[in-house]
């Protein structure tokens, strides 16, 4: 097994100027390493950047008990692509995605969504940003039990005081195969149906970015596969940007690109992964972390 140098595949552009807020489509040093050759620049995948983390540091706890969940993590999320974030437990993958989603504050570094610097936003503005520009799918408990499937679907828009575009909603419902279940409450839906409603809710406002945190963790393999296929198709046909945290190599294989985290940094990435390639990568990472 080859030893992978512990370098960040996406070098942070000029870490000394964290205030920089431009969207740089062709950042210098922007790397897209192939399967076996980290650090090796490749043309693919490139394209517009939907979100970017720059040198992000996040520490939980204090003193002796302090845990550095993110230790200078930098990553670019390309628009219209399905990105998976993987890493051993404790690697900081959830923290990174929560930071990108404006759910968690960071100690230093910068999070950009499009042109917006999340760090400069108030709590309220971050909430409005989540409502208008982001979508979420969690592992479980995605839906409000008191609301019907349809109401859950429209939730981000109704919270903002608007209504979903009926054409778009109908299209989503049709794509997700939820037509007959719209008037049902979450308790009357299967786990797969519940997650599909959650995906629909994440997409209803046509957000710039959708975050999915282990969306298939509670599903059987068939329902999980259907959901992941839908997410991948959404990036293709709807030009939707999706970031998914997962620990399942099979789930990660649906993504266009996999980013690996260890010890709070991005240590590697893969484009067009397969389950096997992801698994072998993880094995190497484990060995590296263990060593």
């Amino acid at each position: 097994m080859t030893t992978i140098p512990a370098i960040t595949p996406i070098p942070a552009p000029e870490p000394t100027t964290p205030g920089r807020a431009t969207t740089d489509h062709t950042a210098p040093g922007h790397a897209a390493p192939g399967h076996a050759a980290p650090g090796h620049a490749a043309p693919d995948p490139t394209g517009p950047i939907a979100a970017r983390a720059v040198d992000v540091v996040k520490t939980y706890g204090r003193g002796e008990a302090a845990v550095r969940a993110l230790d200078g993590a930098s990553v670019d999320i390309q628009r219209g692509r399905f990105t998976a974030v993987m890493g051993p437990s404790g690697s900081g993958k959830s923290t990174l995605v929560h930071a990108l989603a404006g759910l968690d504050s960071i100690d230093s570094g910068q999070i950009l969504l499009g042109d917006t610097d999340l760090g400069a936003l108030s709590e309220r503005d971050r909430t409005l940003l989540r409502r208008e520009r982001l979508g979420f799918v969690f592992q479980a408990f995605n839906l409000i039990p008191a609301l019907t499937a349809e109401e859950n679907l429209a939730l981000p828009l109704t919270l903002a005081g608007t209504r979903p575009d009926p054409v778009w909603q109908a299209e989503l419902v049709q794509m997700l195969g939820l037509g007959a279940r719209l008037r049902h409450r979450p308790a009357e839906l299967s786990g797969g149906q519940q997650q599909r409603v959650a995906v629909g809710r994440a997409l209803i406002a046509r957000p710039e970015l959708v975050f999915a945190d282990e969306p298939t963790g509670n599903l059987d393999s068939r329902a999980g596969a259907a959901l992941l296929t839908f997410l991948r198709d959404a990036t293709r046909s709807l030009d939707q940007t999706i970031v998914m945290v997962t620990h399942d190599p099979g789930a990660a294989s649906y993504a266009d690109r996999v980013v690996f985290l260890a010890d709070g940094r991005i240590v590697d990435e893969q484009v067009d992964p397969t389950a096997e390639s992801v698994l072998s990568h993880l094995a190497r990472l484990d060995a590296q972390v263990g060593g």
Partner: protein, 845 residues
């Protein structure tokens, strides 16, 4: 300590923040109970001490005999004793010394202002030791017609010094110079009264006794047994005189004064009970919620081998701990509550003595027991449900859905409701107050049983407007519907409090309307009325004499009040002048006539005549204080509205009154002016004529009506404030229930926040839920209160038409206060919900 007990203790301590509001509810309820007991004990104790002190040192007291000692909290007045009786008493062997006493109630004016103590102003003749407990602290004893000694406490409060002049009025009015200040026993004065002491002749003059005296105090000679002397005196003086052991006389006086305190005690304890019942709902709810949240832990215990009996015991044990802790805290608070209650009761016009508080062992015992028992009873239901948690639930992943009310419960509820509603209507129709009481009790039980069904339906209905708030409003409404049992308990508690308040307000409004209805019959231009409570000294007969002599006055008519015993129960009557009354009031007689009253007749209100089956010419047996049981001839029957105008259903003539009563004071003087006389000028003249009788108030019709209404309003105000206490506890219940369910809904809140609900929206969602619960309670409570009030009024109306006056303004105020209270109750849970960390909430299991 067994492991289960250790667990119980740990649980109680671990959940102390969740149980804090429960503790507070118990403590508040118990504080009310303890405060009521302490206040009434204190007042009784102070009055006992007061009467004991004033008669200390005297062995026996000789007074005129009376058929009964006191009625409605007032000692009856006895006939004065003839002047020569003192010598006859002194001549009885074994009597060492005697003292003739002039004593009665009066009024005191200082620098033109009336001094109004809590109780009566006592006017008495000075006595030297060992006859009295009075001990001069400054100056000298009163001698001669213009000297007076005042109690030191009143002198200090009113800043009166030796040499100042004060005006003392009873039957006559005298301006006197203060020559001495006295203490009473070891105290500066009496707890409840001002004391004014003059020499015997001045006292006789003030009280209109002439040469007679009020009572004779007797000291037994050395070595003479007091009971034997008492018997010899009785034999020597005859049965028209009563010889009483002075301590017994003091006790009887104290009992009379304590009667109103007994009523106060019943009312206060009933209201405190309402607070405890409302608290019981809160306690049951808290235990229900906390145990639901701990269902998995309980299941684990069961899986590990705990019997359901042990689980039940552990929950009951926890309730016991909370109950004891709450009761202990409440009992401590009770002392403060007693002071607050005393202030409240006084502001409502009740005469309560000042003094150090008395806390008895039984108060402590009752308060502790009340709080603990209520907590235990309230926790029984949740404890039984907890004991039913099956061990497999430890393995269950999702939260158990709230259990729907069982069919048996529903059937019971609907059956009870089906019984209660017709019973209430029938009882109102049949004028049966007992029926209304039973119907009300059934209705309340039915509503408590049906609460989990009715409350959510009502919430859906009332919650319509809340949906306008968008998703937060929609979710608020859904949350109230989601857990019917929980919502029902919160709603029922508040509705109960609000029902009682609206009941009292409708009842009070109607009583006001009823009492105002009668006054239309009075045509007098002006009235002179006693400002104080009538029996604590009415108007001196001098007042009517002076008014009568005024040139502008055409007709003067007066009314007096008295108590009589109606087969053992105290009742009231009025005495009027049959000749002049028709000139100042429209009196409708349905049979017989007023002029037929004579000095041995009585006129009955139509309702009283019907109740007793009496007609003109029949006789009625009445027991009077002065001359015992007498048979009175029914001289006429008066329309009920006319009797209402005179505030009594039994009417004597003034001549008849003089035969049966020693009292010589008027309650009201009706004045009709000469034609064409300017009313305001006449009024000024009247005022000037009676200026030195400070309790004489000159009023026109409107003011007289307002005066009556004000008295009713004061009582309603007091009751409402005290019921507000129960409402406060119920509002705490909303806060508590919401705060606890926020804990349950953490994940949901996290999700909503992640998806884009702002903190402001979240806060409004929680507040809207609180307001909605309050609104449902408002609807239920007011409907219930109105219904019960109407049924009660119908039952009380007897043969009269039912008068229901709904004080719309007051009810709207209740609605506003309750809804705002709900909003306030939601503030804390809303803040707590908004402060939840989004990420941590989502991650909550």
């Amino acid at each position: 300590m067994t492991p289960m007990w250790r667990l119980t203790l740990r649980n109680a301590l671990a959940h102390r923040s969740r149980l804090a509001l429960t503790w507070l509810a118990v403590a508040l309820g118990v504080a009310f109970v303890a405060g009521s007991l302490v206040l009434t004990d204190t007042s009784s104790h102070l009055l006992d001490a007061q009467f004991r002190t004033t008669s200390a040192g005297v062995d026996l007291t000789v007074r005129s005999a009376a058929a009964f000692n006191s009625a409605m909290g007032v000692e009856v007045q006895r006939d004065p004793l003839p002047a020569d009786l003192t010598e006859r008493v002194d001549a009885v062997p074994g009597v060492a010394r005697v003292r003739a006493v002039a004593a009665g109630a009066g009024q005191l004016q200082v620098r033109g202002r009336t001094v109004a103590p809590n109780g009566p102003t006592l006017v008495g003749s000075w006595g030297e030791a060992p006859f009295t407990a009075y001990a001069l602290r400054a100056g000298h004893a009163p001698r001669g017609a213009d000297e007076v000694v005042l109690d030191a406490a009143t002198a200090r409060q009113q800043r009166i010094a030796l040499g100042d002049r004060i005006t003392v009025s009873a039957t006559t009015s005298h301006t006197l110079r203060v020559v001495g200040l006295t203490g009473i026993g070891g105290q500066e004065g009496l707890a409840n009264s001002a004391v004014v002491l003059v020499d015997l002749p001045t006292g006789q003059s003030l009280l209109g006794l002439g040469s007679r005296v009020s009572s004779i105090e007797v000291l037994a000679a050395e070595g003479v047994a007091v009971p034997g002397l008492s018997a010899r005196l009785t034999a020597a003086l005859g049965t028209q005189y009563a010889v009483t052991n002075s301590q017994d006389a003091a006790a009887a006086s104290a009992d009379a004064a304590k009667e109103s305190i007994r009523y106060l005690r019943i009312v206060l304890l009933a209201l405190a009970g309402a607070g405890l019942v409302v608290g019981a709902f809160l306690i049951a709810n808290t235990f229900g919620i906390v145990l639901t949240q701990r269902a998995r832990e309980l299941a684990l215990l069961r899986a590990a081998g705990a019997t359901s009996r042990q689980v039940f015991g552990s929950v009951v044990g926890e309730a016991l701990l909370v109950g004891l802790a709450g009761s202990a805290g409440g009992t401590l608070l009770g002392v403060g509550a007693a002071r607050a209650l005393r202030g409240l009761a006084r502001s409502a016009g009740l005469a309560l003595p000042d003094g150090p508080l008395t806390v008895t062992g039984s108060t402590l015992g009752i308060a502790l027991a009340a709080g603990t028992v209520v907590t235990l009873l309230a926790a029984l239901g949740p404890a039984r449900r907890a004991a039913r948690v099956a061990p497999v639930e430890a393995m269950r992943a999702s939260e158990p859905a709230p259990s729907a009310p069982r069919r048996g419960r529903l059937t019971t509820g609907w059956v009870l409701l089906g019984l209660a509603a017709p019973l209430l209507v029938a009882a109102g129709w049949m004028r049966s107050i007992a029926g209304v009481g039973l119907g009300a009790a059934l209705l309340l039980v039915a509503l408590v049983v049906l609460g989990p069904v009715l409350a959510p339906r009502l919430a859906r209905l009332v919650g319509r407007p809340v949906e306008r708030l968008g998703v937060p409003g929609r979710l608020a409404r859904e949350s109230t519907v989601r857990n019917p049992r929980r919502t029902a308990a919160t709603v029922t508690a508040l509705a109960l409090g609000l029902a009682l308040i609206s009941f009292v307000s409708v009842l009070g409004g109607s009583v006001k309307a009823i009492s105002a209805a009668g006054t239309e019959a009075i045509r007098a231009d002006l009235l002179v009325q006693s400002s104080g409570e009538e029996m604590l000294g009415g108007l001196s007969p001098e007042v009517v004499g002076r008014v009568d002599r005024l040139p502008d006055v055409a007709v003067v008519s007066r009314a007096r009040f008295g108590h009589w015993l109606d087969q053992g129960a105290t009742s009231a009557l009025a005495a009027v002048d049959p000749v002049t009354l028709p000139e100042v009031a429209d009196i409708t007689m349905t049979a017989g006539s007023l002029s037929a009253l004579g000095n041995d007749g009585i006129v009955l209100a139509a309702s009283a005549a019907t109740e007793r089956g009496l007609q003109v010419g029949d006789t009625l047996a009445m027991t009077f204080p002065r001359d015992g049981e007498q048979l009175l001839r029914v001289a006429g029957v008066m329309a009920d509205e006319s009797a209402q105008a005179l505030s009594s259903r039994y009417i004597l003539s003034l001549d008849g009154y003089a035969r049966h009563y020693s009292e010589d004071v008027d309650a009201t003087v009706y004045v009709k002016l000469m034609g064409g006389v300017d009313q305001s000028r006449a009024r000024a003249a009247l005022k000037a004529a009676v200026a030195d009788f400070p309790n004489a108030q000159v009023r026109d019709q409107a003011e007289a009506a307002a005066g009556r209404a004000a008295a009713i309003e004061q009582v309603i105000g007091l009751v409402t404030v005290l019921l507000g206490f129960a409402v406060l506890i119920a509002l705490l219940g909303i806060t508590n229930t919401l705060a606890l369910s926020i804990v349950e809904r953490t994940r949901e809140i996290g999700l909503l926040r992640a998806v884009g609900m702002t903190r402001t929206q979240l806060r409004w969602m929680v507040r809207a839920e609180a307001v909605l619960v309050a609104a449902v309670a408002v609807v239920g409570g007011i409907v219930l209160g109105l219904g019960l009030a109407v049924a009660t009024l119908a039952a009380l109306a007897a043969d009269n038409p039912v008068v229901v006056s709904i004080p719309v303004g007051q009810l709207l105020a209740i609605v506003a206060v309750a809804v705002l209270g709900g909003l306030a109750a939601g503030l804390l849970p809303a803040r707590r919900a908004a402060q939840l960390d989004v990420l941590a909430s989502i991650a909550t299991q």
